[in-house]
């Protein structure tokens, strides 16, 4: 990719933002999904007094905390990075974009961090009910936090509730900002993604334990919980992801056309499942492709007869509106990131359905082929989420704020390539170390070969 070898400051700043935000989002969705699952387990323990739910709470609670630590640490980078690398952008959008970020801190992150401390250390200091309530508060706050972040991000995709005064975007309606249709759909998409992360990872870990024959009856309970949630959320995500396309079509027609490598305007439009070639202006017709008639029309417009504008026409329109320039993102990357995300989503749905069927037939813990599959499937949500963000953010290019500000004009003028090189190097080095340690810890604490949690001196949920 030309992006990685180019050394201009804008490209370095982009690579840095892509690296740090994709990395941040490897940890965030797992905490969004695992949080409520652990809270449900603790609730079930409190209601049933079944010791196994307590052990499961501690077991998955440890994994949750290991991930929250990195999610919090890498989230700080994101907050500073706007100002550090994108000062022109920050000055341009601060009035609007800064508000949801600040509200996130005040209304959500404060609550989340404070109550997390109460949950971790409150086992014996709070009554069991209050202690459980602290975890639910953490879950609600983390979900609220995600909402405000997506309100901010969606404003870059589909700006609403603003006016431009003296070359600055100024907020005119907080309600328009908070009820941005793009944001609400993106939020639903991300929350479902979080729940998919939580359930697929939980299922995979349960299957690991079944393979080793450790605590089978206990992990069957967890597997059942994971499957009860996984089947509907993986299915819903396919629908929501699909309908999300409609919002993108109206806000970012170019992104949809790029994600289909659709050069010519079509009606009705076939959906390309796979194709070789056809990703550049000179080579618009793929040498090989598999297509499904009318499906693209449905995905992009909600009607099987809908019209989808092609890249060439959109490019001409944008030039008329914004002046000369290339308004197309990298078509090949967008096309494949969309498919990677969608195919991973379908695979996860199949894994969930298969698992549920095996569980229902009481064969889950013995179906070794499935247990191995489910373990491998733990990688799928990570692939899907990463591809999804590549699609969303690279598909917005060349804009940093759709139609208002170009990425190439938004970086910090005072930040040199040297500084950017240093910071990129530092982040990559640090993040690799964090990832290695995280994987080692996750493996150790999820490992069926590990001694019983109750024999351990330091308790998962009671650290330090």
């Amino acid at each position: 990719m030309s992006l990685l070898v180019s050394s201009t400051t804008v490209d370095l700043a982009r690579v840095q933002f892509a690296t740090t935000s994709i990395y941040h989002f490897l940890f965030v969705p797992l905490t969004l999904g695992l949080g409520p699952l652990v809270a449900v387990m603790q609730t079930l323990w409190l209601r049933s007094k079944d010791e196994r739910w307590l052990r499961l709470t501690r077991f998955f609670g440890t994994l949750l905390l290991i991930n929250i630590a990195i999610a919090v640490a890498t989230g700080l980078v994101q907050e500073f990075e706007f100002g550090m690398n994108w000062s022109v952008y920050s000055r341009f959008v601060g009035n609007v974009f800064g508000a949801p970020l600040a509200i996130e801190g005040l209304a959500a992150f404060f609550v989340e961090s404070t109550f997390l401390g109460l949950w971790i250390f409150g086992w014996n200091r709070l009554s069991p009910r209050i202690h459980l309530a602290t975890l639910w508060v953490v879950v609600v706050a983390s979900w609220a936090s995600g909402y405000f972040i997506l309100v901010a991000n969606s404003w870059m995709q589909h700006p609403v509730g603003y006016k431009i005064v003296n070359g600055q975007a100024q907020l005119t309606s907080i309600w328009a900002l908070l009820s941005n249709g793009f944001a609400l759909r993106a939020y639903l998409h991300v929350i479902l993604a979080g729940l998919i992360f939580g359930t697929i990872v939980m299922l995979g870990i349960c299957c690991w334990h079944f393979l080793r024959g450790r605590d089978v009856d206990m992990f069957l309970k967890a597997a059942k919980l994971a499957l009860i949630v996984a089947v509907p959320v993986t299915f819903l995500q396919l629908i929501v992801g699909n309908r999300f396309g409609e919002a993108v079509t109206s806000a970012q027609s170019m992104k949809i056309a790029a994600s289909e490598a659709q050069w010519k305007t079509c009606q009705p439009c076939a959906f390309s499942l796979f194709q070789i070639g056809g990703f550049t202006e000179q080579d618009q017709t793929p040498s090989f492709s598999i297509t499904v008639p009318r499906v693209l029309s449905y995905m992009a417009t909600g009607s099987f007869d809908g019209q989808v504008q092609g890249l060439s026409e959109l490019q001409k329109q944008e030039q008329r509106t914004y002046g000369r320039g290339n308004y197309m993102p990298n078509i090949e990357v967008i096309y494949w990131s969309m498919r990677t995300m969608a195919y991973a989503g379908v695979l996860m749905f199949l894994v969930a359905v298969l698992g549920a069927w095996l569980y229902w037939r009481k064969k889950l813990e013995r179906a070794r082929w499935f247990l191995r599959t489910a373990m491998v499937a733990m990688i799928l949500p990570y692939i899907a989420a990463t591809a999804g963000w590549v699609l969303t953010e690279m598909g917005r290019q060349p804009w940093i704020v759709q139609g208002l500000l170009k990425t190439s004009q938004a970086n910090s003028p005072s930040v040199t390539t040297t500084w950017l090189g240093i910071s990129l190097g530092v982040f990559i080095a640090l993040y690799v170390v964090l990832l290695v340690v995280d994987l080692v810890l996750m493996r150790r604490y999820a490992n069926p070969g590990r001694p019983e949690p109750s024999e351990e001196v330091s308790m998962p949920a009671v650290t330090y």
């Binding site: 307590l54 290991i66 630590a69 990195i70 640490a73 890498t74 700080l76 907050e79 500073f80 706007f82 100002g83 550090m84 690398n85 000062s87 920050s90 000055r91 341009f92 959008v93 601060g94 009035n95 609007v96 974009f97 800064g98 600040a102 509200i103 801190g105 005040l106 404060f110 609550v111 961090s113 404070t114 109550f115 997390l116 401390g117 971790i120 250390f121 409150g122 086992w123 014996n124 200091r125 709070l126 100024q170 907020l171 005119t172 907080i174 910090s412 003028p413 005072s414 500084w419 910071s423 530092v426 640090l430 964090l434 150790r444 109750s454 330091s458 308790m459 009671v462 650290t463 330090y464």
Partner: protein, 352 residues
């Protein structure tokens, strides 16, 4: 008072809250290699701040976020201009955040040592760089007419700003030692007391010297009269001095309150000196960023005011409650030696 000035005060309030609260857990972090005798005591020190450090850190997140929303021009210039300084802070923040969660994940001596040092270096590093960075807002940095930083990394280090960094480190170390005398017991508590007494003279001297120098810099670099900044400066000096006296008399509670007031006074001196500017430009004073010039429009500030009016009182209540829940002392002879045992396992709870 208009919204711009109000938000300048709110941001000063978040910085002050951040340093008063996170200040003591930075201090505890800095003392980790020196005060405890063994790993159990080190665990007790970690535990004394374990439940609260994360909530304390959000004060910084909100100070940053509120600056972005209320003063976009300030946010853009400060973060891009102090680039490598913020990079250092981020590295320190990250290694410190994970050290809390990861240290106890293994019994291995070296592993625990690494993460203890990560916490110590992170704590001291953040305190020092913030001391230097915030002092630079007042001392002045080269800005162009577009409000962009045109200096290099080393421009940030002058006599005054380095003293600012050292003052932050010493004051927080003292503040943390006093906190430990309140939250630990037995031998550990006695050694924390000794540490507090040793730290008191340098913390008071450098802290007082720093606020006095701040008032002088305000007059020199920011066209201020001595009077308004001198008031919080006097409060800070008196509070630091009395905090030291109370530490000698073993009045830990009072001493902690006073070192908190001193920290508040120190931050208040800085921000009072800064007003009506948010970043002083030097040598081109005319390029300085002002409160009104870098603020967001009225509507954004009004919305943010409503949000803050609801969230800040709630925040004070639930964080206050957290401190109430975890008011008990940790560690010492009356508890078994192991780090995890002090909080006891959930499995030991009556319900099981």
């Amino acid at each position: 008072m208009n919204f711009e000035i109000f938000w300048f005060c709110v941001i000063a309030f978040f910085w002050a809250g951040y340093f008063v609260l996170e200040g003591f857990d930075f201090g505890v972090g800095m003392l980790l290699p020196f005060v405890p005798r063994d790993d159990a005591e080190r665990g007790a020190m970690f535990e004394s701040i374990g439940p609260v450090w994360d909530g304390n850190e959000v004060w910084l997140v909100v100070a940053g976020g509120a600056t972005f929303a209320a003063f976009p021009a300030w946010y853009g210039t400060m973060f891009s201009g102090f680039y490598l300084a913020f990079l250092l802070i981020l590295v320190c923040l990250i290694i410190r955040v994970v050290s809390f969660e990861w240290r106890e994940k293994s019994k291995d001596h070296r592993w625990r040592h690494i993460w203890m040092w990560a916490n110590t270096i992170g704590s001291a590093g953040i305190a020092f760089v913030f001391g230097v960075g915030l002092s630079n807002l007042l001392h002045g940095v080269p800005l162009d007419s577009g409000g962009d930083y045109i200096g290099n990394f080393w421009n940030l280090f002058t006599g005054y700003t380095v003293v600012g960094g050292i003052a932050f480190v010493l004051v927080f170390a003292f503040h943390g030692a006093i906190y430990l005398t309140l939250r630990t017991s037995g031998d550990l508590c006695a050694r924390a007391q000794t540490a507090a007494l040793r730290l008191a003279p340098p913390a008071v001297l450098v802290g007082a010297g720093y606020v006095i120098w701040t008032v002088a810099v305000a007059a020199d670099q920011n066209d201020k009269n001595v009077f308004p900044p001198a008031l919080p400066a006097a409060i800070a000096i008196a509070a630091f001095a009395l905090a030291a006296v109370c530490a000698y008399r073993q009045r830990s509670g009072l001493s902690f309150t006073l070192s908190a007031v001193g920290t508040l006074g120190m931050v208040a001196t800085l921000f009072t000196s800064l007003y009506p500017r948010v970043m002083v430009s030097s040598p081109d004073f005319a390029n300085s960023l002002t409160v009104t010039g870098s603020a967001s429009a009225h509507y954004t500030l009004a919305v943010m005011t409503v949000v803050a009016a609801i969230c800040v009182p709630a925040l004070l209540i639930y964080q206050g409650w957290t401190y109430h829940v975890f008011r008990g002392r940790v560690g010492g002879e009356d508890l078994t030696g192991d780090t995890g045992a002090a909080t006891a396992a959930p499995g030991d709870s009556p319900a099981t």
